[in-house]
Amino acid sequence: MEKLLEILRDIQPDIDYETCEDLIDGHLLDSLSIIAMIADLEDAFDVTIPAVEIVPENFNSAARMYAMLTRLQEED
């Protein structure tokens, strides 16, 4: 989780990722930030994030992203 927060802060420093629940729906992260993030996440967690997974439900909060990453790791 710390690893994730680090990556997130690296991309957009001025968001409180630990509490924010509407990163996508609240227009805090736009699509270009997301692709920046995906490349990082894939490296750091050693998973492939397919386009199907890039939906607001998976990216609205740090917790949900973490859940997705864990799930992808298990599936692999």
Partner: protein
């Protein structure tokens, strides 16, 4: 009952705003829907949808039926490949698995490519052949060739652009394994052609509506009242504002050379208002209709004129189209293996901010080119798409600079005044885009845009000028009042209040008073009847 429907066929059922729809088709449908047993309701829905399509588009319903058949067939094909793969995998040794997977992935890819090409190919052929050949002809004559292509004219089925995207999204979802293939052809047909939504969207996903439509609920009193209220609200936007502005907009955009730059700027603003009221009003009618039978369609507008940036604007205006391009063009392009490599490499050289913008830019370009092309035939639509691409992309390129500038100047980006300034800036940019969107061709658009700066003289809008524009001061007054009402409601919604629900929690006197006021407002101030020409919904042509 069927007699009433057939006589509606005699007159013109053009849109969800026609009297024939609101006072004949919809009531007869709701009556039939409410009296049949629950398990038959879906058949009433299918029949009504096919009938609606026939009334609007006649024989062209074959396109709709063929699209449904295509979805059905290709969906099952993809599904079979998936099952075959699983069977083979369960038997295979560990070493063989990867090869089998790759083998089937390639097969599936060819199937989905074929299906998407058939679907989008039809769309492009019907809509773009004329445009394409006209441009070739121009080119040929520029090259002093006498050879010219004959330009065929196709009848374009209503809603083709909308249901084609729904069909492709269904197939892609099956391909990606998000949803299982549906072997129920009527259910697919209903998902595709549900009658209020077929003309102008919203563009739904299979997961959002197919099941709800196939298992429709009995009409509940609160759904009925909320749905009808929403329909009335949409009709107000369309009949009172959009249609009232239509003569002015049409006049200035057709005859732009004879108007002052100030009038052209004003007309661009009015057109933006007209388009918003027309399209979002139509969505209110569509979503309201679905709400009556307990089906929740996705929202298409979320008060777009409160957006602080263009990129935010497109997540609040025609949301389902933006989402379609995001999910089926933007992310697949950026997450494709070569693009990912590009991003990783670029980030090392250009840093976190600029790195992803390279691959992102390519994907974004595809999205906006597609968006422009989707809207219609003509260079001005392509220009419109690329204009928004340029705005969004430059916004991203410049964001570190603007942030730094902001902190240097000690501007708090969350300050109210600054927020409104950003909203205003976004609105101005949107209005400029809509000017090109509405213009009769790219050259007309450029000439009009130029005139705003070179022929601008702030003319007094006196009565003569108004009559030359086909409206009078009373028209503008009522437009102003209505826009004020819509704005007020939007501000309340921005604060998170669900206005309709809040209204229905109020005492009867207030609730009925509001509804009566709304209905009388439409009836008295609507631009319909003598002296008005009914205007087709603007997005029905795309």
């Amino acid at each position: 009952m069927s007699f009433a429907l057939i006589s509606a066929a005699g007159s013109k059922l053009t849109s969800c705003f026609s009297a024939e729809y609101l006072f004949v088709f919809l009531p007869v449908f709701l009556f039939a829907y409410s009296i049949v047993p629950d398990r038959w309701k879906k058949y009433v829905l299918i029949t009504a949808s096919c009938l609606f399509y026939c009334l609007v588009s006649g024989k062209l319903i074959v396109y709709l039926l063929l699209t449904a058949a295509l979805m059905h067939w290709f969906g099952i094909w993809l599904d079979r490949l998936q099952t075959q793969m699983k069977d083979r995998l369960s038997l295979a040794e560990k070493e063989e698995r990867k090869a089998i997977k790759n083998n089937f992935a390639a097969k599936k890819r060819s199937v989905i490519t074929l299906a998407a090409m058939l679907q989008l190919g039809t769309l492009l052929t019907l809509k773009y052949t004329g445009f394409f050949l006209t441009n070739i002809n121009t080119l040929l004559s520029a090259l002093h060739s006498t050879a010219q292509f004959e330009i065929p004219s196709f009848l374009i089925p209503v809603g083709l652009s909308f249901f084609s995207l729904q069909a492709v999204s269904y197939l892609l979802d099956v391909y990606r394994g998000v949803i299982p293939a549906d072997d129920n052809l009527p259910r697919l047909l209903l998902f595709l052609g549900f009658f209020p939504q077929i003309v102008e969207g919203p563009i739904c996903r299979y997961r959002q509506t197919a099941d709800a439509l196939w298992n429709p609920q009995p009409i509940r009193y609160d759904n009925l009242t909320h749905g009808l209220t929403r329909i009335a609200w949409g009709v107000m936007k369309k009949i009172v504002v959009a249609d009232r502005l239509d003569p002015l907009v049409k006049k200035v955009f057709t005859d732009y050379a004879s108007f002052d730059g100030g009038v052209i700027a004003l007309a661009a603003v009015f057109y933006t208002v007209q388009l918003y009221m027309d399209f979002s009003g139509a969505m209110d009618v569509v979503i309201g209709t679905a709400q009556i039978i307990g089906v929740a369609l996705p929202e298409n507008f979320k008060r777009p004129f409160f957006s602080k940036t263009i990129s935010e604007f497109w997540t609040r205006w025609h949301i389902t189209l933006g989402a379609w391009f995001r999910d089926y063009v933007f992310y697949p392009v950026t997450t494709a293996a070569p693009m990912k490599k590009l991003t990783t490499r670029a980030r090392k050289k250009l840093g976190n901010h600029y790195g992803p913008l390279l691959a992102g830019g390519i994907a974004l370009f595809c999205v906006w080119l597609g968006n422009g092309v989707w809207h219609g035939v003509g260079w001005h639509f392509i220009f419109f798409g690329l204009y928004h691409f340029a705005l969004i992309y430059s916004g991203n390129l410049l964001s570190p600079l603007t942030k730094r500038a902001g902190s240097l100047l000690h501007i708090d980006p969350e300050r109210i005044a600054f927020r409104w300034l950003r909203i205003l800036r976004t609105t101005v940019l949107v209005v400029i885009g809509e000017l090109f969107f509405r213009a009769n061709g790219l050259w007309a658009g450029l000439a009009m845009f130029k005139a705003i700066f070179t022929r601008f003289s702030l003319p007094a809008l006196n009565a003569e000028l108004l009559s030359g524009l086909g409206v009078d001061w009373q028209d503008l007054l009522i437009v102003g009042v209505t826009v004020g009402i819509v704005f007020t409601v939007s501000v309340i919604q921005e604060k998170g209040v669900r206005v309709c629900d809040a209204l229905y929690r109020k005492p009867t006197v207030i609730r009925w008073g509001t509804l009566y006021a709304l209905l009388l407002f439409i009836i008295v101030f609507g631009a319909y009847g003598n002296g008005y020409t009914p205007v087709d919904p603007l997005y029905a042509q795309y």
